[in-house]
């Protein structure tokens, strides 16, 4: 959950504060922040459960392993939607999906590897 929430802070909070300062719509931004925190936390838990199953089979140490976990997360969450959008000729959306998504997954992966201790 923590690994899911922290990338949210890094990826979303700063642009959100900037936008909020411009728009001066603070209650809307606060509600958005709370919902996004909950959403990222829930999916962080679910993906964390999945990764804990295959954790030992992923090669590397903290950084490499974390980047690979991020890559797996990105593969699962974006590959098929990108193929689908590309096949429909919606190349712009496909590129947005492909380039706009993976950064927070890599942060998730590194944090997860750092925080997670596999059972002995």
């Amino acid at each position: 959950m923590i690994a899911g929430i922290v990338p949210f802070f890094l990826m979303h909070i700063i642009p959100m504060i900037e936008a909020g300062a411009r728009a001066k719509d603070i209650p809307f931004l606060i509600s958005q922040a709370i919902v996004h925190l909950g959403w990222n936390g829930i999916w962080g838990v679910i993906f964390g459960l999945f990764i804990s199953i295959i954790f030992d089979r992923i090669p590397g140490r903290v950084i490499t392993k974390g980047l690979l976990i991020g890559l797996i997360y990105a593969l699962f969450s974006t590959f098929q939607p990108v193929c689908s959008l590309w096949a429909y000729g919606n190349v712009t959306s496909a590129l947005i999906f492909l380039l706009g998504g993976p950064q927070d997954k890599f942060i998730f992966g590194i944090l997860f590897t750092y925080l997670y201790k596999p059972p002995k």
Binding site: V35, W39, W43, F47, F50, R57, S77, W86
Partner: protein, 151 residues
């Protein structure tokens, strides 16, 4: 037929299971169009271009699910031992895992955007992404059948 290299086996079984999944989603799409769920598709099916539309849609599904299926097939072969279950049950669980992270993830994200912004199209997108429920479970079953047979 036997394929010794596990990754190649994953690739080919994923590709063929993807093709079968694509046919399943194509049939479900046509049935839903005929039952009035997709008004645009229903109009195309009633037009002179119906055959062209059916064929192009099938080719598109075969391409995108086939490619995705092959890539996930390689992943399946790499983490085969770690995925819970045995035989077809194992691959079916794998299909559900893909469905969860590949489509329900986006579905929930769009639903959330719809709730936050009140824009109706996001709710429609959230329904659209769940359409994958027609091919990933089918993909999972056939991945297991082919993978165990080609061992």
């Amino acid at each position: 037929m036997k394929i010794e290299n596990a990754k190649m086996r994953g690739f080919y079984t994923g590709l063929f299971a993807g093709f079968i999944g694509a046919i399943a989603v194509h049939i479900s799409l046509m049935v839903s169009a005929m039952s009035g769920f997709h008004p645009d598709y229903a109009a195309l099916l009633a037009s002179e271009r119906a055959i062209e539309f059916i064929l192009y849609q099938l080719i598109y599904e075969l391409g995108q699910v086939g490619i995705s299926g092959a890539v996930f097939g390689i992943f399946y072969s790499m983490f085969y031992e770690a995925i819970p279950g045995k035989g077809v049950k194992k691959s079916f669980i794998f299909g559900l895992i893909i469905l969860l992270f590949s489509n329900l993830w986006w579905s929930s994200y769009n639903f959330l955007l719809g709730l936050l912004t009140g824009i109706e199209k996001f709710f429609w997108y959230s329904i659209l992404w769940t359409g994958a429920v027609y091919f990933w479970p089918v993909y999972g079953i056939f991945l297991g059948i082919f993978y165990e047979r080609w061992k």
